[in-house]
């Protein structure tokens, strides 16, 4: 791996090497981490036998000249200490890459030219050859985004044209789906290559038709069942699963005192897994979404509604690959999504709405809000495994205060999933001695949550406290676990943007997360030091453990998986 660092350094540090008119930007994100094994060692004499070291690097290059830009992303991962002796037999702990996947690297290492693209930016058109992203409307038909902040990155490897004749945007995109192979934050294990599903899409949008922007789109996905570079194209004529989506969008500005957005999509399926057990295999699906917002005086009102039937079925074959090609608005408060509530997000038979009222109490400084969401989830399959449909209600409230280097951003909410027939207590179920009340329970989940970020100056420093808590009380449902409580928190002391020290402290009784490192299965602690030698160069050193969730440190926030161990990272843009 050293050779490409050296080659780039030699090129980039020599100004003469750059041709006139050529600009370059390189970004390198390097991390090496010591991961504590998630499984306890069977031999107390060797407690770290399942520990290993993982080193990950992501290098991005952007080279521009005139209207052209070329981008490349090269990902690399290597595992060390990835083996141990058991009864004198050498055991390889993690199989980084499946044997059938072509890999130019030896041993437990892998190198992948993940993304490549050439982009031409014209006055009335943008053309992309190689890896491109595409999202239509509100994402119900197509939403392939660069979600590296949640360690998911799937592009369309092919051709994309965005034509802008006058007031029109016409988008044409086609190719094969190219899923990120090397995870930057999650453990790398069993990399199996792409299932190169084929897709083609078109969208036309007309802007400025009086107060309206109107659009229409169509997308076809042809899913392959075999990994490999050519199998996706080879199977296009065959009877492999197919989804076709067509949709219309309308955006109206200042009509009847509101800004409006409406979208409708219809889905046709062939040989796709049926999401609803009581429907026919060829039953179509649809998605309808409406939003309206108005701004009377110091108030802002946002109303949203949705009705989705078999719309998430388009993602039905992508579970093993852990991404989705289309994601409609959920209207859910996503900071409070847990393993249980996520089922409603992916429901294939749901309708509901959300209303939010914001009040600009002190213009630009203090804005409290209240919101109410209600949904009817009739999907009895999926992760919920509900026996009956359920009604979800979710009031939330919060405040944002930002002024003079001080800020408070906080939210609280109470979510209830009330399954039909829950008025009659059901025997059995969770431990009645748990927090959520003794005695028989109704078939109803309840979730109380809150999160807050507070920042204020402390002499020449600033103190940033970010905390979130959740209490989940499980209704009677044998497929669901016991009640649990989680608290995640981070306390950052920063000197400008140059130096920041963060102490993370988490508490959870969620059984699947309970592997804490502070002398208790429930308690996690970690510390991180961040230094910025230059504005676009960040060094971080971390030791300890924390739960999964949105993590903020040093003035940045990311959605991160849980981690236990130590790591050092360097991110530089140059």
């Amino acid at each position: 791996m050293w050779w490409y660092f050296a080659a780039i350094a030699a090129f980039a540090t020599d100004p003469e090497a750059q041709e006139p008119g050529i600009s370059t930007t390189f970004t390198d994100d390097f991390e090496i981490r010591y991961r504590r094994g998630a499984v306890a060692s069977p031999d107390p004499a060797y407690p770290g036998v399942f520990d290993y070291i993982e080193q990950v690097n992501r290098f991005n290059a952007n080279i521009r000249s005139g209207r052209w830009a070329f981008e490349a992303q090269i990902d690399e991962v290597a595992l060390f200490l990835n083996r141990y002796y058991l009864d004198d037999v050498l055991v390889v702990e993690n199989e980084l890459v499946v044997p059938d996947l072509w890999n130019p690297m030896p041993g437990s290492s892998y190198l992948n030219p993940e993304k490549l693209k050439a982009n031409w930016e014209g006055e009335h058109a943008t053309l992309t050859f190689g890896d491109a992203y595409a999202a239509f409307g509100r994402g119900a038909a197509l939403n392939l985004n660069r979600n590296v902040d949640i360690d998911i990155d799937t592009s369309v490897q092919g051709v994309k044209a965005l034509l802008r004749p006058g007031a029109w945007d016409i988008t044409l995109v086609g190719g094969q789906l190219n899923r990120q192979q090397v995870a930057q934050d999650n453990p790398n294990d069993g990399i199996f290559g792409d299932l190169r599903h084929t897709m083609g899409a078109i969208r036309a949008e007309r802007f400025g038709l009086g107060p309206a922007n109107v659009g229409a789109h169509a997308v076809v996905y042809k899913f392959t069942t075999e990994p490999g570079f050519t199998s996706g194209f080879d199977q296009v004529p065959g009877a492999t699963p197919l989804t076709a989506v067509a949709g219309l969008t309308t955006e109206l500005t200042s009509v009847a005192g509101f800004d409006w957005y409406a979208e409708g999509d219809v889905f046709g399926f062939q040989d796709m897994p049926n999401a609803l057990p009581d429907s026919k295999d060829d039953a179509p699906g649809y998605a309808a979404y409406l939003s309206a917002s108005t701004y009377p005086g110091p108030f802002v009102v946002l109303l949203e509604g949705k009705r989705y039937l078999q719309a998430d079925r388009v993602n039905g074959l992508l579970g093993p690959e852990q991404y989705e090609v289309a994601t409609a608005p959920t209207l859910e408060y996503e900071r409070a999504i847990n393993e249980d509530t996520s089922a409603a997000l992916n429901s294939n038979d749901i309708f509901g709405g959300r209303a939010e009222l914001d009040w600009s109490a002190i213009a630009g400084e203090l804005t409290p809000y209240i919101a109410m969401a209600a949904f009817r989830d009739r999907d009895l399959g999926g992760a919920h495994a509900n026996g009956t449909p359920e009604t979800i209600t979710h009031p939330t409230a919060g405040v944002e205060y930002v002024a003079d280097g001080r800020s408070v951003i906080g939210n609280i909410g109470f979510r209830t999933d009330d399954r039909d027939g829950s008025a009659v207590p059901t025997p059995g179920g969770p431990d009645p001695a748990a927090w959520c009340g003794a005695g028989p329970r109704r078939d109803r989940d309840r979730q109380i949550h809150g999160d807050v970020v507070v920042e204020f100056p402390v002499g020449p420093l600033s103190l940033d406290i970010a905390a979130a808590t959740e209490l989940f009380c499980v209704g009677v449902n044998p497929l669901q676990g016991p009640d649990f409580m989680t608290v995640t928190s981070g306390y950052t002391l920063a000197y400008g943007s140059d130096v920041a020290f963060t102490w993370f402290l988490d508490y959870t009784t969620q059984p699947i997360d309970s592997v804490g490192n502070l002398g208790s299965d429930h308690l996690y602690g970690a510390a991180e030091l961040q230094i910025k030698p230059a504005p676009a160069f960040t060094l971080k050193a971390f030791y300890g453990a924390y739960k999964a969730g949105i993590r903020c440190s040093g003035g940045q926030c990311r959605q991160l998986p849980g981690f236990d161990g130590a790591r050092v990272s360097a991110v530089a843009t140059f």
């Binding site: 050296a6 939403n143 979600n147 900071r335 914001d358 400084e365």
Partner: protein, 164 residues
């Protein structure tokens, strides 16, 4: 092997995050604003441009934005353009305009729903992310994250770029 990699990466970062590489041409792009109007970066040649990447879920972004709005109000007549680029994806696009209306910001807000532009300027996609572009279209300064006091440094650099 791992130590060599670490050393190379650190040396690379230390050696290259230097002013010598701050004069690169800013990558051109075209995005639509909240009203559906096209904004083409190349059309802003002759102006000092601040690209500010943010999202409605990003707390540090919300702390930085009032400062950028104030700076824009004070310096726009002197040739400053602040392009506030929302990286909220398609699903949450309906939240962007209500947030801007609520806060009363006056700078132009562009929608980068496919994260194409932030992917070019900041592949790591950390937020907030700020890019200063001089009157000739060259990148003058980049900064990731926001902590109190950063706005002073940004204002000083903008002032310097605006100076005749």
């Amino acid at each position: 092997m791992s130590l060599r990699l670490l050393s190379a990466a650190l040396a690379l970062g230390l050696g290259l995050a230097s002013p010598a590489f701050a004069a690169d041409k800013a990558a051109d792009f075209t995005l639509r604003d909240l009203a559906g109007q096209e904004v083409h970066l190349a059309d802003l040649s002759g102006k000092v441009v601040v690209l500010s990447f943010w999202a409605t879920w990003c707390g540090p972004c919300k702390e930085e934005m009032p400062h950028l709005n104030k700076l824009y109000g004070e310096k726009k007549d002197a040739g400053l353009v602040v392009l506030s680029i929302s990286t909220d994806d398609a699903r949450s696009a309906s939240k962007v305009k209500p947030f801007i209306e609520k806060m009363g910001y006056s700078f132009p807000v562009l929608l980068d729903r496919e994260s194409t532009v932030i992917g070019t300027y900041n592949p790591a996609k950390t937020l907030p992310f700020t890019v200063l572009i001089d009157r000739k279209g060259n990148i003058s300064h980049v900064a990731s994250g926001y902590n109190p006091g950063d706005e002073v440094a940004i204002a000083q650099k903008v002032e310097a770029l605006l100076a005749p």
